[in-house]
Symmetry: C2
Subunit: 223 residues, 2 copies
């Protein structure tokens, strides 16, 4: 089975799924993969076995799946297309950062190398997309730098938002309204375990309080 957009999606979700897991040499459980791809569990199993045949993933029955080197490389080129396209749509086409994900989801499978080169060039060979996600290199090198979240970073220290790891438009608009987009300066004033909340002071000295769940999706550069 060659290299359909279905295959690209499986590899992409396996990559993203694994990278969301705690460090180590983790395997992505089939259940999570099936949810991410919105397919029935059995479908994911069947497909992953086929991908294993093609040498794109390692599959351990009942344990999960992980990418091989070849699979990682392919996933990286898909991610590169996706993220360059997202940035292009924002930067060149003037679309909002909360409305580009779905288009990118489709375009990532059809953009030719030639067109992608043009896009990359036009954007000045950027290394992150509008959400702060790293754009893999042409040869499939992904530079995932280590970042704290607003849940783990030091309190009372100014930090810079570097990445927002949730593409939900509602969340993205909230982030934008409150000056929490990548590049913005914020500071954690306090954390309240009990209330499951984090109080921030951002641009304009206005304090806002966000839930822990939201705080964990905002990655920051502690400097």
């Amino acid at each position: 089975m060659a290299h359909s957009s279905t295959v690209e999606n499986y590899l992409k979700e396996i990559y993203l799924g694994v990278s969301r897991l705690p460090p180590g040499e983790p395997l992505l459980p089939m259940g999570q993969l099936a949810v991410a791809l919105r397919v029935a569990p059995g479908t994911a199993t069947t497909m992953v076995k086929a991908l294993a045949e093609s040498g794109l993933v390692e599959y351990e029955p009942y344990n999960g799946v992980r990418l091989t080197a070849a699979g990682t490389k392919l996933a990286a080129t898909v991610l590169r297309r996706h993220r360059l396209v997202e940035l292009f749509l924002v930067q060149v086409m003037g679309m909002r950062w909360d409305e580009v994900h779905d288009d990118a989801e489709h375009l990532e499978h059809v953009v030719s190398d030639r067109l992608l080169d043009r896009i990359d060039e036009m954007l000045g060979h950027p290394d992150t997309d509008p959400h702060g996600d790293p754009i893999p290199g042409k040869e499939g090198t992904i530079l995932e730098r280590h970042l704290e979240t607003l849940l783990t970073c030091p309190v009372g220290t100014p930090v810079v938002v570097a990445r927002v790891t949730d593409q939900d438009p509602v969340f993205l608009r909230f982030v934008e309204r409150n000056g929490l987009k990548p590049g913005e300066l914020v500071e954690v004033e306090a954390r309240d375990e009990g209330a499951d909340a984090v109080r921030l002071r951002g641009r304009g000295d206005t304090s806002i309080t966000i839930g822990a769940r939201a705080a964990s999706k905002l990655l920051v550069d502690v400097k």
Copy 2:
């Protein structure tokens, strides 16, 4: 059967195929459709029957196929996407007119309405693509204006190239090298039935002779 890119391609090729036929109320023979889509004849038959079920085409066994109003409208939106994308790739992305067809062929199936609106706006609501092909309106109205070809237009009269009806890169580069792109002024100096050739005088008073086959692909505005 809903509205896959396969369906879009069938409708598009039926539209294009019919419009290449002599006027009247013609039916596109299944053979031609199969060739255009690069599928086996039986495949085209099966698919067309399904399209007829969906009310997108009229199918007369052994005679051929033609679009219904609904089918025409859908074909028009595909053509609109294709042609706007082609113009975009040339105008905005700086690609050559002879290298945009294949990208457009894929992009036409995935570009969202929102993105297409942006493209349309950015290009100033153009009405022809780089090859002079008309860009259907948002509601599916196609303005096919009547044009002569270099085989049928008056001799010794200046005419303006309006449209090039062949996407082959080799041909397009020939056209460009010889100043025969849409917008350029030319004049048929003579036609030679026997030699199957047409002598032209174009920009810079240089005379060139092209074959009848090529001449028939260059549509001109006699004014």
